[in-house]
């Protein structure tokens, strides 16, 4: 009878600890002392979004008058619910990242959701303003269409095919695709140098269509998430990683053996996804967005999140300026 004899147990333990050791080795070389050449320049290490600064921005945001809320059935429902259900992610650096020790989510996208919740409900406990439902690129439209979530704020690029299924309020942020390479790479400086190189990008990214336009004939390898793409560049499976600039800068902060080169070569507007059935919902969110653009709260939120990694003073985009919004 085959039972777990002592000898068998020993060999199994030895085999599995070898596998675990291999996995531990693969978590990457320790960071070198030099900082990478990212656009923000000095002292990249240890840049973090401050939870207190973030909370202060949310609490300082505008609150809608009672008549404004009661005029909108959608907003009234949210106010009685007490929170906004946001479809998004909890693993996106800079835009919506959950701190595993505190359970709090902070980031630019999280801030838009929290500011909207504060606008409608007037609540001051920032941790209770929104509930995040994890969405993926495959499920965003469906979750809006069947009202599983109230809004989707998830680096959601505005495109015309998507706008046929759901409505986009905004744009609320204008980004662009940029290039990330290993720190010792000197051959790739801009999008023109990408012609015969091995490229990688996320499978849920609009960078794919950008690459078809700027580097035709070169099919990039696609991975499901940011970390896999970063590992692909670090390990030599790809020469360059094309994605939204702010995310690449966030990568360069954590991985000092990577750098971002060139300036963004596309324009990628993000919108707030809402259900399409009632056009007043989109109008309500657009009114809210214009309010925070004008009051300076949008800029304060930017400074507390994206601004930690990128220098500059951006201006808010023009609402409705993009096809589909």
């Amino acid at each position: 009878m085959y039972a777990f004899s002592r000898r068998g147990l020993f060999y199994v333990a030895a085999g599995s600890s070898a596998a675990v050791a291999l996995a531990a080795c693969s978590s990457g070389a320790p960071p070198t002392g030099t900082s990478s050449g990212s656009a923000s320049g000095s002292a990249n290490a240890n840049r973090q979004i401050s939870q207190d600064a973030y909370d202060a921005v949310i609490k300082g945001g505008p609150v809608a008058g009672a008549s404004v809320v009661s005029a909108s059935p959608w907003a009234t429902k949210i106010k009685s619910q007490g929170y906004v259900k946001r479809g998004g992610t909890t693993t996106g650096a800079i835009f919506s990242l959950k701190d595993p020790t505190t359970g709090r989510i902070a980031g630019f996208d999280a801030g838009i959701g929290d500011l909207l919740a504060h606008y409608i409900t007037g609540g001051t406990d920032v941790s209770k303003l929104t509930q995040v439902a994890q969405t993926s690129v495959d499920t965003r439209e469906t979750m809006l269409q069947n009202n599983t979530v109230d809004i989707v704020v998830a680096t959601y690029s505005i495109t015309v095919p998507r706008a046929q299924k759901i409505a986009f309020a905004g744009p609320y942020y204008s980004s662009g695709d940029s290039i990330q390479v290993r720190a010792d790479n000197t051959t790739i400086k801009s999008v023109d140098d990408l012609k015969d190189k091995k490229l990688v990008t996320e499978s849920n990214s609009t960078a794919i269509t950008a690459l078809q336009k700027y580097v035709p004939g070169n099919t990039p390898t696609l991975f499901a998430d940011n970390d896999s793409c970063v590992a692909a560049v670090q390990q030599g499976r790809a020469d360059a990683y094309i994605l939204d600039e702010a995310i690449l800068l966030g990568n360069a902060v954590k991985a000092t053996d990577l750098k971002v080169v060139g300036t963004p070569f596309t324009v990628d507007p993000y919108g707030v996804g809402v259900n399409k059935d009632d056009p007043a919902v989109k109008a309500f969110v657009n009114t809210f967005l214009q309010k925070i653009f004008d009051s300076g709260d949008w800029l304060k939120l930017w400074k507390a999140t994206v601004g930690v990694y990128v220098d500059g003073v951006p201006t808010p985009p023009a609402i409705g300026s993009v096809a589909g919004s």
Partner: protein, 223 residues
């Protein structure tokens, strides 16, 4: 509706490549797993103790590690020790390793169904262990294993969809990419589901045909 046909038409070669990649992953994975699985099963029933132990460790490890974890280790872990394998072959390797553990158990239980009288008679005729396996035991054992092996094949077919998560352009990955561009989730995922369904039904049909074929000639033990 017209847009859907338009989308399918414009991307037909892309979709076809995805189907071919899935077929390639499955067939190469299954053939490799069958070969290695049979070898490991022979190890597990052999009279040599170190081989038996090796076979047991192999099966216990690769059967109990999730296929996705294995694929991620192969794609992202191996380069750290210097082995950079092209993505498609990473997928095949993962399927072969995981599939072979399951096929090993299938083959081993097939071998065990052959009555010990066959083995004793073969020994009485002077056959060595390996000759016995090759001429008497394995041919009879494979006859009983057709349906479980079809199960394993379908398991490898469905498992091949996990390769999409590590960047291999199989039909699952292709439909995910098309969904990003066209936002037609329901149609596209029904399509990829249909591809797997048709392929699995085909495998089941081949299995039934094989079973009828081998049951016509039986030198085997009474059942």
């Amino acid at each position: 509706m017209n847009q859907i046909w338009q989308m399918l038409g414009d991307n037909s070669s892309f979709l076809l490549n995805g189907v071919l990649t899935t077929v390639g992953l499955t067939i190469l994975g299954f053939v490799g797993a069958l070969v290695i699985g049979t070898i490991v099963a022979v190890f597990r029933v052999s009279p040599i103790t170190p081989l038996r132990v090796l076979g047991t460790v192999y099966v216990e490890f690769f059967r109990n590690v999730p296929l996705l974890t294995l694929l991620i280790l192969i794609v992202f872990g191996l380069p750290d020790i210097g082995l950079l394998i092209p993505l498609f072959w990473c997928g095949v390797l993962g399927l072969v390793l995981a599939g072979s553990a399951f096929i090993c158990e299938t083959v081993r239980s097939g071998i065990n169904t052959i009555s010990v009288g066959q083995s004793e008679a073969a020994r009485a005729l002077g056959m060595s262990f390996s000759t016995q396996l090759r001429l008497i035991i394995l041919p009879q054992a494979f006859r009983t294993m057709v349906q479980p092996l079809v199960n394993n094949f379908i398991g490898i077919l469905i498992g091949s969809s996990l390769a999409a998560a590590v960047g291999v352009s199989d039909i699952t990955n292709v439909t995910q990419q098309l969904n990003i561009r066209y936002a037609e989730a329901v149609v596209l995922f029904l399509l990829s589901g249909a591809v797997y369904l048709v392929f699995a039904l085909g495998a089941g049909g081949v299995g039934s045909w094989l079973e009828r074929l081998v049951s016509k000639s039986r030198i085997g033990s009474a059942r």
